[in-house]
Amino acid sequence: MLKIKRVPTVVSNYQKDDGADDSVGCGRNCLGACCINGARLPLYACKNLAKSGAVEKLVISNEAKEPPVAFLESLVLGEWEDRFQRGLFRYDVTACETKVIPGKYGFVAQLNEGRHLKKRPTEFRVDKVLQSFDGSKFNFTKVGQEELLFQFEAGEDGQVQFFPCMPLDPENSPSVVAINVSPIEYGHVLLIPRVLDCLPQRIDHKSLLLAVHMAAEAANPYFRLGYNSLGAFATINHLHFQAYYLAMPFPLEKSPSKKITTTVSGVKISELLSYPVRSLLFEGGSSMQELSDTVSDACVCLQNNNIPFNILISDCGRQIFLMPQCYAEKQALGEVSPEVLETQVNPAVWEISGHMVLKRKEDYEGASEDNAWRLLAEASLSAERFKEVIALAFEAIGCSNHEEDLEGTIVHQQNPSGNVNQKSNQTHGGPITNGTAAECLVLQ
């Protein structure tokens, strides 16, 4: 069994050290059976993209002017600011210094000394992407209701509906948006699909589509949603996505890409070129649902094959990045270079996208493109392994008939134009996959 020790991120004020069981009973307004009766929360039901399609309007009309700050954006920002002014966060993230690291890629660095204070390192199992839900550990049914901002769902039709005070219905497990009390940027929230169903951290089609809906509805290219699988730096095994505002492009989003294939439903799949972490980009498709489902197919395949990964939902849901990674596994095997380890930066979805949250002042002051690159390159699969993973994923998506294109790409890959990390150990992921795929399939 592979394990690493790390300081877990405190996402809720109700999260205790060492994931110890809470025997506190209640009286603190949580989401458990003890408190949920009579609980109310605003409900935002967004336009249903699956039903309305994703056809964008072309014609200039009066509505084509720059829209006002969107409804969902006002709700997220307004409720977040309210919790901020009520002092629910562990620190003021806007007081954390932040800068763009000079260089070609524009990595963003933030000095955040408060995020990891007051927690002891905990052991995390990193060799199992799918683990069953454990109600005795911290999960989002244990957060206080004041940390919840609103309920979010895809509505029945093409209309946005808003109910300022809607009962939380335990029979019909609501999806909720909660604050992350250790934010890494302004507006850092968690989207928890069907919170009362206690789903483990694993991608399913419905939940990813909900996250894509949220990205589309927020209608702001600087509000992205991210996902970390277990083994790729998720610390809580209760299904959740993260999101926040950062009004500049991520280096990952700026990276040039090269098309590998287009699926029958028109989803274009490309591979990023000259980025330290080998990644896939999904975009287009006849509808947002087609796009989302294609990514879900790939993710389900990855998690069934025990391959840790991160997802970034970008450009209002139009672009979805999938980044398989092996950092934690290498860390557990003692293969990550000590200088990189020393920074204690965990390459989860935001770091891999190019937003580096640094814990030590010296790392912040000395932040360079080289350092950022070196850290991220440790997380990347090797060229060989990435090729295998693409093949697996494409088989699941049903575009294995593009084998020829793929071969062409791989040939090109072996002579990367940039300094794509070549030294990753080529065996990463391999043995583990072979060893546990069957076990994971049983869970499925």
């Binding site: 072309l58 709700l75 700026k254 028109g266």
Partner: protein, 386 residues
């Protein structure tokens, strides 16, 4: 609430005098000029060539944001590049798929460049030239086979324009006969001569703008001669703030008497003042004889402590009836990228207008959402890649 088309043109004519339009119309190029300091970053001038190319009338274009010409097949990455160039106040040249009024898409070379105020380094306008791509040298990315030219031209109408076409203003742009053709098009590279043409066009527009700004005495230039002053907001921050449609002001606590440095359109509507009447003023001009001085004191205390506060205060408008109104005012300090308090934001809600409609956000939430949106905009406005 929003500015009328004529006022958009007024702001342009004010800077360059009335003859500017005539002079620009003599240029053969396809171009637009936008004003980032008007909410929505609208087009304030469009050349005849541009109108002819896109099929729109001038009235349909003035006051619009350039993004209305984009469509489902427009490359998202190119859009991001343009967005970032605006944010970083620099020029950009990129191939772009745009759409005409008829809905038909076409490839053009988009070359945008900022125009700076000579004395304050502030961005005054952006000039965007569009050169139709003739299709002579375009290539499809991702095709590796040797007979790629056939593949590319196979799906698209071939434009025959060999020979010297450097000064040919009406080169037919690359078009596709069917959707599938476009779908396969990853990119359309402009030829060197088209790139030169774009540069030449921008230079011609810039030199006319410079010449006419001399007439009005408010000089502009294509290069930044001085750093932006401390009291001068970046155009990217102003564009972000312009998206917020509610009444608010930003004040600068580092300047003497904490003057207003930004006022939203909704603030001007609420108070009845013009922008130039409020910029540089301390907010106390909204007070009057019956304004409770203890509330003013409370505000002052909060500002000194660097805290946020919500108060109810009687304010006096400059609207036609000179009416006073109860202002539910929220004030918060706003930090910049270095984590230091750079501004205070004041968000006004007219108490009588408090919306109790149950399907809307609570007025308090809407008010705080303005604070949030301002924080996001300010925090990233200084983090510009250079």
């Amino acid at each position: 609430m929003s500015l009328t088309k004529s006022s958009e043109e007024d702001s342009f004519n004010g800077r360059y005098t009335l003859w500017i339009t005539e002079a620009l119309e003599e240029l053969p190029h396809n171009f637009t000029i936008t004003d980032p300091f008007i909410s929505g970053h609208p087009i304030v001038f469009a050349s005849l060539g541009f109108l002819k190319m896109t099929g729109y009338s001038r009235e349909e274009v003035i006051g619009r944001n350039g993004k209305v010409f984009q469509g489902p097949k427009t490359n998202r990455r190119s859009i991001m590049e343009i967005r970032e160039a605006i944010r970083e106040e620099r020029s950009v040249m990129v191939s772009l798929l745009n759409y005409r009024k008829s809905g038909s898409p076409f490839w053009m070379l988009f070359h945008m460049s900022p125009v700076f105020g000579r004395d304050d380094g502030k961005v005054i306008n952006f000039v965007a030239v569009q050169v139709p791509i003739s299709g002579q040298e375009h290539r499809k990315l991702g095709v590796m086979s040797s007979d790629h030219s056939e593949l590319v031209f196979g799906s698209c109408r071939r434009e025959v324009c060999f020979g010297s076409f450097v000064h040919q203003n009406r080169a037919s742009p690359v078009e596709c006969d069917d959707e599938q053709g476009l779908e396969d098009w990853e990119h359309c590279e402009a030829s060197e001569s088209e790139k030169l043409k774009a540069v030449e066009a921008v230079n011609n527009v810039l030199s006319i703008l410079t010449r006419y700004s001399e007439l009005s005495g408010r000089l502009v230039c294509g290069k930044r001669y001085c750093l932006r002053g401390v009291d001068c907001l970046s155009s990217s921050l102003v564009i972000s703030l312009g998206r917020i449609k509610q009444s608010f002001v930003l004040t600068n606590p580092c300047l003497p008497d904490m003057p207003i440095i930004y006022a939203s359109d909704a603030f001007l509507t609420l108070t009845g003042y013009k922008r130039q009447e409020v910029l540089g003023q301390n907010c106390r001009f909204l007070s009057g004889v019956d304004t409770d001085s203890s509330v003013l004191y409370e505000i002052k205390e909060c500002i000194l402590k660097g805290q946020s506060c919500t108060v109810q205060i009687l304010n006096y408008s400059n609207r036609k009836d000179k009416s006073s109104f109860w202002n539910l005012l929220h004030i918060s300090p706003v930090r910049n990228a270095s984590g230091k308090t750079a501004y205070f934001v004041g968000v006004q809600v007219e108490a009588s207008c408090r919306n109790t409609e149950s399907k809307e956000l609570r007025p308090e939430t809407r008010q705080l959402s303005v604070v949030g949106a301002v924080r996001v905009a300010v925090r990233s406005s200084l983090m510009v890649t250079c």
